[in-house]
Amino acid sequence: MNRRRFLKYASGLLFASLPGFNLFYGCDGKQQTAEAFIGKVAGYDENIAAVISAGFRELNVTENEIRGKRVLLKPNLVEPHRGMGHITTHPLLLRGAIEAFMGFGAHEVLVAEGPGHCRDSFRVLEESGLTDILREDRIRFMDLNYQSWFTVPNAGHATRLKSLTFPTILKEVDWIVSVPKMKTHHWAGVTLSMKNLFGVMPGMFYGWPKNVFHAAGIESAILDINATLKPHFAIVDGIVGMEGDGPIMGTPKTAGVLVMGKNLPAVDATSCRIMGINPRKVRYLADATGLGPIQEPIILQRGETIKSVHTSFSLLDKIEAHRRLMVESS
């Protein structure tokens, strides 16, 4: 641990003693840390696979963890519209992730999504530009809205939902990787790797949009889905994100970054800081205590520093979820 990180960690312990400050502890009672990697990527024509592979190494993700494994990439394809690429995860980002996982020896990488606003999954692929990538790279796509399913007790208990139903493929793969777009969101404040997992929930049981979760409380539902599913990794597409009235009608925002890690709250908290948003003001992150740390001092930052890539995303006064985020930044 270098001096800078030690000081951050020490200041984290100081804050931890303050009343009302949420800390994340593991089963053994020790404060747990998590790692997040930030990589600079100026555009989608850069060697994204190399950046992701470098991220794996910085995060100590070994070939042994990936070799022979089945990897499911879950992009954000909520409602693609041609010429509006800032709504959805970019296809070349997905290609980079596919190449990186295959380069580390994955047996299979597949792309899966249950779009929340659009039932025509083939149109989703065409409008997002993903069809050509999948065809050229011979990658399988699964529409998670209509797969076979399994139901398990809700491990999160943040909503009244007693159980959650997931597509069977999610228990057949070794890695579930959330690959969201870095966006503001007019109901949840931000949508990053945790919110992106709404899209694994089958529309045939939860509707279009996934209105069961809206009725149950969006922020609580995010926690329940993540607590129950336990995803393995996140790669946030912040090369071009969305600011303002996200998740659909906002404007493109170039941040030029990828944010990666095994712990989704830590990755999302780091993404928030890059966006100029205090993650403790994002309700579902503030309440993610049992899922991972969001405090900067205990997130071990790999790759670029937050300061070097900081890019404030515009928030709108008229949006209540944004007003909550404007109170303070850190």
Binding site: E126, T131, W149, P209, M249, K318
Partner: protein, 295 residues
């Protein structure tokens, strides 16, 4: 291009009928209620023997006591296949009661409502009752339009629930005429339309509103369908335009192009093949098309 140029084998799905009589969505997949209902609509005049009646009987076994038909037994809240089932049972003496029970269920079921509030963040009227995808959630365009189609078919066009649902569909129409899943303006931003939802909304409104109310919708969809080849969007776009006597003359060519996309995407599910076949055969109002089918 004449209709004879699309061979029946292009829509072949009879090998997806299970021993139970029901249909699966893809070969070797399990039985699904929505796949079965759609297959019945598509194969009615072509099926040999008792294939259609066996499918209807299988669907009847999936019907719960209160009349609903769900996507699976373990998710009774997901009752959105009920109106599809009512369409599929149409014309069968053996299943007349099943259809009537489904209709009675639809008439008592409704999406959640609340009073319109001047401070609300969205433009649509949440006090209007339509139908949800899932019990105890809000009403959306596709399940509401599906319910209107089933109720129209069964002679309930003047029922207060249909009239209110028509108002709801109208209320969810985007300023430029199209529809999406069911939100119009949120935080002062007009949202974007989708062709499949616009198509089913137009099919539902056929015969219930004046053409002037949907002229902009037809304009949007006629432009959009030129670029639609994926089956859900193309199928509903053609059905929606046909319902207003505006079926594009290139429809058959586009359907062939859509079928050819299976080389890229793999074989289509039963629901999509059935939808394309209905779009191919339908030349007018969708409800009249369903009513006119033999068997």
């Amino acid at each position: 291009m004449s209709k004879a140029e699309i061979p029946e084998s292009s829509f072949h799905m009879l090998d997806r009928q299970l021993t139970s009589g029901g249909f699966c969505e893809l070969p070797a997949a399990p039985y699904r209620t929505d796949s079965t209902a759609w297959a019945i609509l598509a194969i009615r005049e072509d099926a040999l023997g008792d294939a259609v009646e066996r499918a209807r009987s299988c669907l009847a076994k999936s019907q719960l006591k209160d009349g609903r038909v769900c996507i699976s037994d373990d998710h009774p809240q997901a009752f959105w296949p009920t109106p599809l089932s009512a369409l599929a049972w149409h014309g069968s003496l053996l299943h007349r009661n099943n259809q009537e029970q489904a209709i009675q269920f639809m008439l008592q079921a409704a999406g959640s409502i609340f009073e319109k509030n001047p401070n609300q963040l969205f433009a649509h009227d949440p006090s209007l009752r339509g139908w949800p995808w899932i019990e105890n959630t809000f009403s959306w365009v596709v399940p509401t339009a599906s319910a209107i189609l089933a109720l129209k078919l069964c002679g309930y066009s003047r029922h207060t629930r249909v009239q209110e649902a028509v108002r709801l569909i109208h209320d969810r129409q985007l300023p430029d005429g199209g529809w999406n899943y069911g939100n119009t303006i949120v935080y002062d931003q007009v949202l974007l339309p989708q062709p499949d939802t616009t198509g089913i909304a137009l099919a539902a409104l056929s015969g219930l509103v004046e053409k002037g109310a949907i002229e902009k919708s037809l304009f949007y969809l006629k432009n959009e369908v030129e670029h639609c080849r994926t089956p859900l969007s193309l199928g509903w776009a053609i059905i929606g335009l046909s319902a207003w006597q505006d079926k594009p003359p290139q429809s058959d060519t586009w359907i062939i192009e859509s079928l050819n996309l299976q080389q890229t995407y793999g074989v289509y599910g039963t629901t999509l093949l059935s939808l394309l076949k209905c779009a191919y055969l339908s030349g007018g109002d969708f409800v009249e098309f369903v009513a006119s089918r033999k068997a």
